[in-house]
Amino acid sequence: ILGGRVSRLGSWPWQCSLQSGQSGHVCGCVLIDRRWALTVAHCFEGRESAELWKVVLGLNNLDHPGVHSQSRGVRSIIVHPRYNRAVVDYDISVVQLDSEVEETAFVRPVCLPRPSQLPSPDSYCYITGWGHMGNRMPFKLQEGEVRIISLSQCQSYFDMKTITPRMLCAGYDAGTVDSCMGDSGGPLVCEEDGGRWTLFGLTSWGSVCFSKVLGPGVYSNVTHFTPWIQQQIYIHTYLND
């Protein structure tokens, strides 16, 4: 996260770290149910097999997981059948954990948006992750406040790419606060009345974020996929093969 700040332990109890073998943290992910998490499809390119992965929750410092962290293996990875690697469209995956997590103050699911519920342009939401900060990789979970940008305005930043309805844009013209490599799959969440947080985006792609950042970040639009997500959870939970 560029332009963000260190987050307090437990501030984002749905944030998880998708880790693979020796690489350690590879991508962010988001807990949506005791046994289910979301991330983006491009994290699994070249590493599609579930046993390569584990999900760590209740983390703040990657180097010191601490007593509140919980680690789970991955039972199955469901990449969206329409995921398009070339244009990074339909960039979403549902991850089934090999066992339920214990819900604590530091590990809790985030809400999925209701059908056709979208954050309003110019509203402020939060992104979190352990991705690149522009000058280094952090140990502690970073958080940043970003502004939702309309698709039409977002398209103007990326004239060589198409911003599809499966995408959501957030950030700032100058890119002062933005997600970066290593944040992929992490949450873009907005607070609703009563302190309830809803997941509207998964960090997906953007312009180069090591050097001078230009334009906003692009997120997978979770609202577009909510029916598909719930179908996958239902099928894998209740349907005998």
């Binding site: 749905w14 149910d33 809400c111 060589m160």
Partner: protein, 349 residues
């Protein structure tokens, strides 16, 4: 063999129509092989390195008649009377090489060695040779001609990148120019493979309508397969995309949030007899909505059928007897941040 005897007759040369797309706009339409690059057939020519090198080189605009020259090598003219090949003139070869060889050098490529110009006759000698006539098109059919006259590969037309020096390759890019399908009633372009694939892409979902013709006793899956009504919501997948088991349990949109199940392709309420908290919990979980907040029983709503054979529910004796299950809301404890409260909130000063 016409003019002199020969020991063995090599394959008698003959003319054949040009089929190489690259060279379909030449002022001649018969060719013969082997050609001047050693290819033995048009098929070999079409997959040769030169057949991709020259069209790419044409885009640089290094020589106006480069494509014409390339075609006289790839598919040399065949004289229908003498059945002999007619070569390019030496000056044409020399011009192309002098103007374009250096461009190849920039990208570390070399000029095709088979096309040594000394093998070709000087124009005006007693051997006829080819020179570009007026009106020869410098672009081939597999190019897009920019307004400025430049040629860019057809694949660059409407690809979202500005390739022509005057950007004309990105003008008027409708769906057909991009070999896409235009959604009726809108400007949205989608790939043909996205039609009837189970994922709505067009506004008003027109790409997913009229995709299947199922019999009366069947329903269409999300991917337009047909599955018998009795197999819907029976707990087993019959549609290959398992859509026969989607949304089998729902809370009716009406104010009461009445529990509704979809059985054998019809909607039913659930009778309250024998209902228990476990079923409430299972229902909310199946709906992906967390845990039940409360359950109440309501008199059945007019116009609804009552469940008769759904498992774990009563057998209704008549429309007036059975109360229905109503789950006002399944409380979802999602999206809370209890740990944040653990720290004394910073008092703004």
């Amino acid at each position: 063999c016409f003019h002199n005897s020969c020991s063995g007759c090599s394959a008698a040369s003959r003319c054949e129509p040009i089929s190489l797309e690259l060279c379909m706009n030449l002022p001649y339409n018969l060719t013969s092989f082997p050609n001047y690059l050693g290819h033995l057939s048009q098929r070999e020519s079409s997959v040769s390195w030169e057949a991709s090198l020259f069209p790419a080189l044409v885009q640089t605009g290094c020589y106006q008649y480069l494509m014409f020259y390339a075609c006289t090598l790839l598919v040399p003219k065949c004289d229908p009377v003498s059945l002999q090949k007619v070569p390019p003139c030496r000056s044409l070869c020399r011009n192309a090489k002098e103007k374009c060889e250096s461009v190849l050098g920039i990208v570390g490529l070399t000029w095709p060695e088979d096309s040594d110009c000394s093998q070709f006759p000087e124009e005006g000698g007693n051997t006829s040779c080819l020179l570009p006539e007026d009106g020869v098109d410098e672009c081939s059919p597999s190019h897009f001609k920019c307004r400025s006259g430049r040629c860019v590969l057809a694949s660059k037309r409407c690809d979202g990148h500005l390739d022509c020096d005057d950007h004309s390759d990105e003008d008027n890019c409708g769906c057909s120019e991009r070999a896409l399908w235009e959604c009726p009633g809108s400007k949205v372009c989608i790939k043909a493979s996205m039609i009837c694939d189970g994922f709505p892409d067009c506004p008003l979902l027109v790409d997913e309508t009229n995709c299947s013709v199922c019999r009366d006793n069947e329903l269409s899956c999300n991917n337009h397969q047909c599955v018998h009504r009795t197999l819907w919501c029976d707990g087993k997948k019959h549609c290959s995309d398992s859509s026969d088991e989607w949304n089998c349990v729902s809370l009716s949109d009406g104010s009461g949030s009445v529990l509704t199940v979809f059985r054998t392709a019809a909607e039913y309420q659930v009778c309250a007899d024998e209902w228990n908290p476990e079923l409430s919990k299972l229902t909310c979980n199946q709906l992906g909505l967390g845990v039940p907040s409360s359950v109440s029983m309501v008199a059945d709503h007019p116009g609804f059928f009552l469940a008769t054979d759904a498992p774990n529910v009563c057998l209704s004796l008549s429309l007036s007897v059975c109360l229905s299950v109503c789950l006002p809301v399944c409380l979802s404890e999602c999206g809370q941040r209890p740990a944040v409260g653990l720290y004394p909130h910073r008092k703004k000063r």
